[in-house]
Symmetry: C2
């Protein structure tokens, strides 16, 4: 059950491919899961990956296609004719099929669709392509099991058998009226234990959770997670049942969303991966660094204003990186916890309570840290008492200020409909750096007078 | 389908509770999903939450108990007798039951278990309590549908009906031998379409993915996600089928893991939420801040060494926060992308390739940023050409160094089995701050000579 790609396996495959020993390649891949074959193909050169793909039979290749990294998939698809792609697509469920077709260049899209054998399948796919990929419509599949409220249990079971052919996993049986409007759901258990002549309208459960086609995918994920749903039906504007979303599709949304927040906190602005190209990685990182650099310009300016202090209080300038760093760290901590609370809908209580809590928290942290700084600057760094006091007092003020800024910026951004995760990372670090330095020197000036 | 707790609803409930109008309270909550009732209870005072809990019938309360925040649940459970808790537990599936019992104080645990009515259920729960909560054993439920390989389809269907009573959602039918060892699985579809006399041994699929009881929960999540599984059987050391994990349990693991990495990146060391107590929040945040503070001491010391430069090159000290901040930002970016790659198992290629890639990336970013700094220091800040050159060159070197440190520390930690996410956030910021300042002044000294 545990699979790690071994260097040996890769080497062996490469040699076999070079010698064109197709049978041996297939034997070697025989017992390997398609997700692992996709991983292996990702590690190989394009022509080797294409070789493996062509050697495997189409039942396996369609699944592999799904699991491949986007760039490898693109290469494989480019090596296939429209007809060959259509054959792969015919094996896939509508949602996966639509995802793959959406990645094709416009002209190929139409070619591939026209080559699809199953007309119903093709129609469903075209239908799905209309929806925004970040909406429930973009997540849903057309495959589902539905029954009419006017049928009886017997008709139902018969119809279901036919429908179930196309549905790999039956989660729920949905009940619709003559207009295809969603009325409720049926449990398999009830169906099995009820007399065959009972009308469906008497046994179905009229309460059913659903989402609309245009609901955002993040919202769909939130609902399914909160209500512990394994599948949820999707209805259009008129309440007609148009598709079904299963939890495995939503897992990816949840993962992506969490990864995105993490990246924003680390100052990476697009959805990139370590294996993306240098250009893409630069585009994702550079903007934040430029922002931080301009923030740095401001701090240079601010420090220039306090140049006179250099005559008598040189020590102060040794402490500026410390103060700035602490301001940044505290700010990121406060904002991260708020951003996560907002993302998980877990913030309760009023804004005033939140302010008071953050205030007491930063007071507590600030007092402890200032005390350490006071002792440390005296005993470890040999700084004079007056400067030590000044720096410690400044640290306390800076921590309080930084945590309040860190708390409020995300809340305010969220109020105005901006992704609060933007406020974490370089943005808050930079602004808190500058604020920290200003507060530090203002306090120092007041105490030491320069 | 969309639910937001309204202030009006809360106020109305509070008034009704005060006036002890139980029927009206129940009417108001009638159509509200249990997950939402749990949310409402989380917003109320303890006695109000307890009032609502007692008013509802036990079918609903067991589910609500599961959905409550841990601290609210603790309060509710404290207000209940062992017998009452046992009644709630009897309604839950074994995995959820075990999770709730695990939260009780030791003495109450035993009391509650002894009050459980269903002896089989109690045995299963006690069994589950033995496993580490971060392992497959801690995630799994005992409820599953299994059949013996020696049965025929007819016996199977009969037995399954009885078993399915206890299983809310049938994902797979597992096939075992006489010793209860996992042999394979059956699809419902095959079962429905095969003649009733066929022996199971002829129709089952011998290839089945499984995990061992002691597999880490994060690994279980990875496997289920990678192979798109909705449920996975769990076997003990002897290969005997002991439980089953469903995707909805794993969704929480995935979410928690992603949240944890995010928090580590932001310098928060425990799994805390915005609504936790001040003491818990302090415990999670303070260690990192102390670390950063001591890092700050080092930077004060380092700057002290370069005090002589203050005579002629004061400007350099204005630039230290800028250099330190850039080093920190670059380091966090590099490490975050590696940590995420490690977490998603998405890092391919050799260490050398990774090094070369990061090197070219940081060269590219570094050159652009140094150029901006050179122009900016001249035109925006009015710094002399020689200092501008020095600072820009230092920035380039610092960026390259910071990105290499940010790349390698997580990889090295991971090699030694330490969570690489520890390397992001304050840890990398602080060490890069110091390194940045040292490199900056070393270069400045070499060029400007002081």
């Amino acid at each position: 059950m545990e699979f790690k790609i071994s260097k040996d396996l890769l080497d062996e495959l490469e040699v076999l491919i070079q010698e064109n020993k197709e049978k041996e390649v297939l034997d070697l891949l025989q017992d390997i899961h398609f997700a692992d074959i996709a991983e292996i193909m990702g590690e190989m050169q394009s022509h080797e990956a294409i070789y493996i793909f062509n050697a495997l039979d189409s039942e396996k290749t369609a699944e592999i296609l799904l699991e491949l990294d986007e760039e490898v998939r693109e290469k494989i698809l480019r090596s296939l004719s429209a007809k060959e792609i259509a054959e792969e697509i015919d094996e896939l469920s509508t949602d996966d099929a639509a995802d793959i077709i959406a990645e094709l260049p416009q002209s190929r899209k139409e070619e591939v669709i026209s080559e699809l054998e199953d007309v119903e399948h093709a129609k469903d796919i075209v239908d799905l392509l209309r929806y925004d990929e970040d909406s429930a419509g973009g997540l849903m599949a057309k495959e589902l099991v539905k029954v009419n409220e006017n049928w009886n249990v017997l008709t139902c079971v018969k119809e279901m058998r036919a429908q179930a052919e196309n549905v790999s996993r039956v989660h729920s049986i949905y009940v619709v009226d003559d207009e295809n409007r969603l009325k409720g759901r049926l449990s398999l258990k009830d169906l099995l234990t009820t007399s065959t002549k009972t009308p469906i309208s008497e046994v179905y459960i009229p309460k059913v959770d659903y989402v609309k086609v245009n609901t955002e995918n993040v919202e769909v994920a939130r609902i399914m997670q909160k209500y512990d749903l394994e599948a949820i039906p999707v209805v259009d504007e008129l309440g007609r049942l148009v598709g079904r979303i299963t939890i495995d599709d939503v897992v990816d949304v949840i993962k992506e969303e969490a990864d995105k927040d993490y990246q924003l906190a680390a100052g990476i602005s697009q959805d990139v991966e370590a294996d993306d190209s240098i250009l893409e990685l630069t585009k994702a990182r550079l903007p934040w660094l430029v922002l931080a650099l301009f923030g740095g310009f401001v701090s240079v300016r601010v420090l220039g204003i306090y140049e006179p202090a250099m005559e008598e209080h040189r020590n102060l300038f040794f402490f500026t990186p410390l103060i700035a760093a602490m301001a940044g760290n505290v700010g990121v901590q406060s904002s991260a916890i708020i951003v996560q609370g907002l993302a998980n809908n877990a913030l309760s209580g009023s804004l005033l309570n939140r302010l008071l809590k953050e205030l007491s928290l930063s007071l507590l942290n600030g007092c402890i840290l200032s005390l350490i700084l006071m002792l440390g600057s005296h005993f470890l760094l040999g700084i004079d008492f007056q400067t030590g006091m000044t720096v410690s007092l400044a640290l306390l003020s800076v921590i309080i200020m930084a945590s309040l800024i860190g708390t409020f910026i995300p809340i305010i951004l969220d109020k105005y409909g901006i992704d609060p995760a933007l406020a974490t990372g370089p943005f808050i670090t930079t602004s808190n750096d500058i604020m920290g330095i200003i507060i530090f020197f203002t306090i120092a000036k007041a105490i030491l007078g320069f």
